[in-house]
């Protein structure tokens, strides 16, 4: 990538919080994450006013479906309700289902690379606890092809990722029990990692391997195909914020310029419908070839390969999607993901840790925020600011954020300059 894109830092809300129970809405959520994020990067609202006078700043908002959850659209403009400093600041909302955060990041990075602006504020958010679980599942169904894959179906997404599990077993001729035990291990690792993350939704929750393996009980009900609740990320409220900036901005405004940089990215879209995905990938070694392609694109743009990546943040909306990501990243060959899981490669102190933050299963999944949250976690690790969950070696990190049933695939690599 030609021009350097610096990541200055950011903030996330505590994903354990239920904002509806607190009686608070989206403005309180945004105010909090932006206040905290600005404080962390050493920027004030007055600075925003000054930067905007010179047309150097813009905002990029990632959100999936606030129109349903909180009856609100026009989310770029909504920032003007957070603080008058946003009056006049270019700002728009970006949407790609659960990859909405990434598409906002992508737009921000592109604008900085084009030198249209010097600093970009990226905010991803979703308030999901405003409705009951069934309605929530139905709303999320709009990330699939609603008419065919979600309308009238209870919890369509767990069912789609349950089908991914079935398809994985069939494609690679896996032993079903061994595969499901692998998925249980993925779940347990994410829960365990979340215990170190003070912003994780599940930091107080209990999960162990026996519980994760015992699906179909009242505390681990079946939710989609062979998957249980323990294979599934939860309904979460939350927001994440990151600021990215040009080399010029960093040189002129920052005393310290040792910030992580964006090294690579990949963006590929697979067929919308799950059936067609499987049909298309029938003869491919990868079950999700476009996910793999997005990873390869990022490696190519960064001139790096899997050996150079110290850790990963992946989109474990379900354990079956993390399983597929292992080979997509290149950690193992496709069909051999079990090796990385069974050998402990992907645990916190393993060779290739995945989701040191706890991921979507452990940290939580406010859908429009997740891409930004992952990107923030890449920043934290690379900058050495992950505190309790700081990895020993974190020079380069990769994230995979997906929308729908691995339909939109976004990959970023953030690393030391």
């Amino acid at each position: 990538m030609q021009k350097k894109i610096y990541v200055l830092g950011g903030a996330q809300t505590d994903f354990e919080r239920n904002w509806s129970k607190e009686g608070k809405g989206v403005i309180a959520l945004l105010k909090e994450v932006i206040d905290d994020g600005l404080k962390n990067i050493g920027l004030t609202y007055d600075d925003i006013i000054e930067l905007n006078k010179q047309d150097k700043i813009a905002c990029f908002v990632g959100n999936f479906i606030a129109e349903y959850y909180v009856n609100q659209g026009h989310l770029g403009a909504l920032l003007t309700e957070v603080n008058p400093a946003f009056y006049g600041v270019p700002s728009a909302r970006y949407e790609a289902a659960c990859a909405s955060g990434s598409v906002a990041l992508d737009a921000a990075i592109t604008k900085i690379r084009a030198e249209d602006y010097e600093i970009a504020l990226v905010i991803g958010w979703e308030l999901m606890k405003t409705v009951d679980a069934k309605s929530c599942g139905d709303f999320l169904g709009r990330a699939a092809f609603y008419e065919d894959e979600a309308a009238g179906i209870d919890f369509p997404f767990p069912k789609l990722f349950g089908r991914l599990a079935d398809a994985t077993i069939t494609k690679y001729n896996l032993d079903e029990k061994r595969y499901l035990d692998n998925l249980a291990k993925i779940s347990v690792t994410n829960f365990a990692n979340a215990k170190r993350n003070p912003n994780a939704q599940t930091k107080k929750w209990f999960m162990n391997e026996v519980q994760a393996k015992t699906r179909g009980t009242s505390t681990n009900d079946m939710i989609g195909g062979k998957l249980g609740i323990s294979d599934c990320s939860q309904v979460t409220d939350g927001a994440a914020f990151v600021a990215i900036a040009s080399e010029k901005f960093v040189k002129e405004n920052c005393e310290n310029n040792e910030f992580p940089i964006v090294k690579g990215w990949g963006h590929r879209v697979a067929p919308m419908k799950f059936d067609k995905k499987m049909q298309e990938s029938k003869d491919n070694a990868y079950i999700l070839p476009w996910t793999r392609q997005a990873v390869l694109d990022a490696y190519k743009r960064a001139s790096l390969n899997v050996d150079d990546i110290d850790f990963f943040e992946t989109h474990d909306c379900f354990t079956s999607s993390e399983f597929a990501a292992i080979s997509a990243f290149g950690i193992t060959e496709p069909g051999h993901e079990n090796e990385a899981i069974e050998n402990g490669h992907i645990v916190f102190d393993g060779e290739k840790p995945i989701n040191p933050s706890g991921g979507l299963i452990g940290c939580g999944h406010p859908v429009g925020a997740s891409g930004v949250r992952m990107f923030l976690d890449l920043f934290k690790q690379v900058a050495g600011k992950a505190e309790e969950y700081q990895l020993k070696k974190a020079d380069n990190g990769m994230m995979l954020n997906i929308g729908g049933s691995a339909t939109t695939n976004y990959v970023f690599i953030v690393g030391k300059e």
Partner: protein, 434 residues
């Protein structure tokens, strides 16, 4: 510390059952659940799995009765005693278990009120070093506070190891508290709740119970208003806690631990709160199956519908909190000179003062009261209240302007607030917009 086997005595009680769940899950320990009869123990076992939402721990939970004490105790690395809060009952249990204890076995009591020193003396000198208070809050799966209290005989090395175990294995928020009545959380919490109850009596002609609860509602930094909390806990339990503190301590807040007459009368009529159908509040079922919560009117002695009080300060605070304007919410409070706003300010200030005084006398450090109130009560912790007011200077100014002289004359506010740090807790999640 390697705790593989635990015996919980009194495992069918609320706390015994919940704590068994914590040991069996996070601790992955084999837990003997000792109850009066096997049926109760079997029921408690299922309940315990539900408290941590994991049936998988059932294999770690073994229903037992007092008949099996010899087997259970002799195999255990830790005994958690959770029997009725009565020294003679506890003494009797201790006498029964003493002969089966291994030299390394730790004995923890879940008492919330009795003296750890006095209880430890039920054992002979050899056993006393292994005995301590391990006080968790209900429900421990959500409330992670664990107050640990050594007696004068407790082995300091063992205490240290237990603290590490509770913190790193059971994921508890551990605070070492001196052996004082009700330890710290209940002392600070029930000072607030009981004084709210006294105010309900004083202001009975303004509405009493629901009037005070509306002044100190969730927008003041808690999930549940204080008198609703008392009703939920049970007036008898409330009384046991405040009587204990009233009888055995003598600080400046002594009189605020005296339970008001009307509440004592309710207890005598077995109107203990939610568990007995009525108390400070009463749930009434409507013809359509829905429930209405009525309130006890102290002035008339009858239950009546709750008033929908509209206090401008509260309405404005809630409006600001809804959109995350915490500073403005507090300005709405402190700029308002109505009697209700004044009561609200006084309660918040007195809570901070009592929290700081208590943490200095029985806590580990200045942050202890914060840890205890946030993780044991889910209330905004004292130091975080100071932050919410806008820092120590503003807090002190408001305190001296809005508190009565007779209160201020009892304390040295400058000394209490000297060098207080910022809280480690973010105050924002605690102040609800309702």
């Amino acid at each position: 510390m390697n705790i593989k086997t635990v015996t919980v005595i009194g495992a069918n009680g609320t706390m015994g059952c919940n704590v068994a769940g914590i040991f069996a899950s996070f601790g992955d320990a084999k837990v003997y659940m000792v109850c009066r009869d096997l049926e109760a123990a079997k029921k408690a076992r299922i309940k315990a799995t539900m408290t941590v939402k994991a049936e998988a721990i059932a294999k770690n939970l073994i229903p037992k009765t007092y008949e099996d004490l010899e087997e259970c105790i002799s195999k255990s690395d830790l005994i958690f005693e959770s029997v009725f809060e009565d020294i003679s009952i506890k003494t009797d249990v201790y006498r029964k278990i003493a002969k089966y204890l291994q030299p390394h076995t730790v004995i923890g009591t879940g008492t919330s009120g009795l003296s750890i020193n006095e209880l430890s003396e039920c054992f002979d000198e050899k056993i006393r070093p292994n005995y301590m208070g391990i006080h968790m809050y209900n429900p421990p799966y959500n409330m992670t506070l664990c107050e640990i209290t050594p007696s004068q005989y407790t082995d300091p090395d063992l205490l240290k190891k237990m603290k590490i175990y509770l913190r790193s294995v059971l994921l508890r928020n551990v605070e070492e508290i001196k052996d004082e009545p009700a330890f710290m959380g209940n002392r600070i919490g029930f000072q607030f709740i009981n004084e709210a109850m006294q105010y309900a009596e004083t202001y009975k002609d303004n509405g009493g119970i629901d009037y005070i609860d509306s002044i100190l509602g969730p927008f003041t930094g808690r999930t549940m208003a204080p008198l609703l909390t008392s009703d939920f806990v049970g007036l008898d339990v409330h009384k046991a806690i405040v009587d204990n503190i009233y009888n055995s301590t003598k600080d400046y807040a002594h009189e605020t631990f005296e339970m008001p007459e009307f509440a004592i009368k309710l207890i005598s009529e077995n109107r203990l709160g939610r568990k007995s159908g009525c108390g400070l509040y009463q749930a009434v079922e409507n013809s359509d199956g829905t429930k209405t919560i009525n309130v006890y009117d102290i002035a008339t002695g009858n239950y009546r519908a709750r008033e929908k009080y509209v206090f401008p300060f509260a309405k404005q605070m809630i409006k600001e909190l809804k959109v995350g304007n915490y500073m403005r919410a507090f300005e709405r409070l402190t700029n308002n000179h109505s009697i209700e706003a004044t009561i609200c300010i006084q309660f918040l200030v007195k809570y901070v003062i009592y929290g700081l005084v208590t943490t200095k006398s029985i806590g580990e450090n200045i942050y202890s009261a914060d840890n205890v109130m946030a993780t044991g009560f889910n209330w905004v912790p004292p130091l975080a209240v100071i932050d919410a007011f806008g820092g120590v200077n503003i807090f002190k100014k408001i305190a001296s302007e809005r508190l009565a002289n007779d209160f201020l004359s009892k304390i040295d506010i400058d000394e209490i607030l000297r060098n207080v740090p910022k809280s480690n807790f973010d105050y924002r999640p605690f102040f609800k917009a309702k």
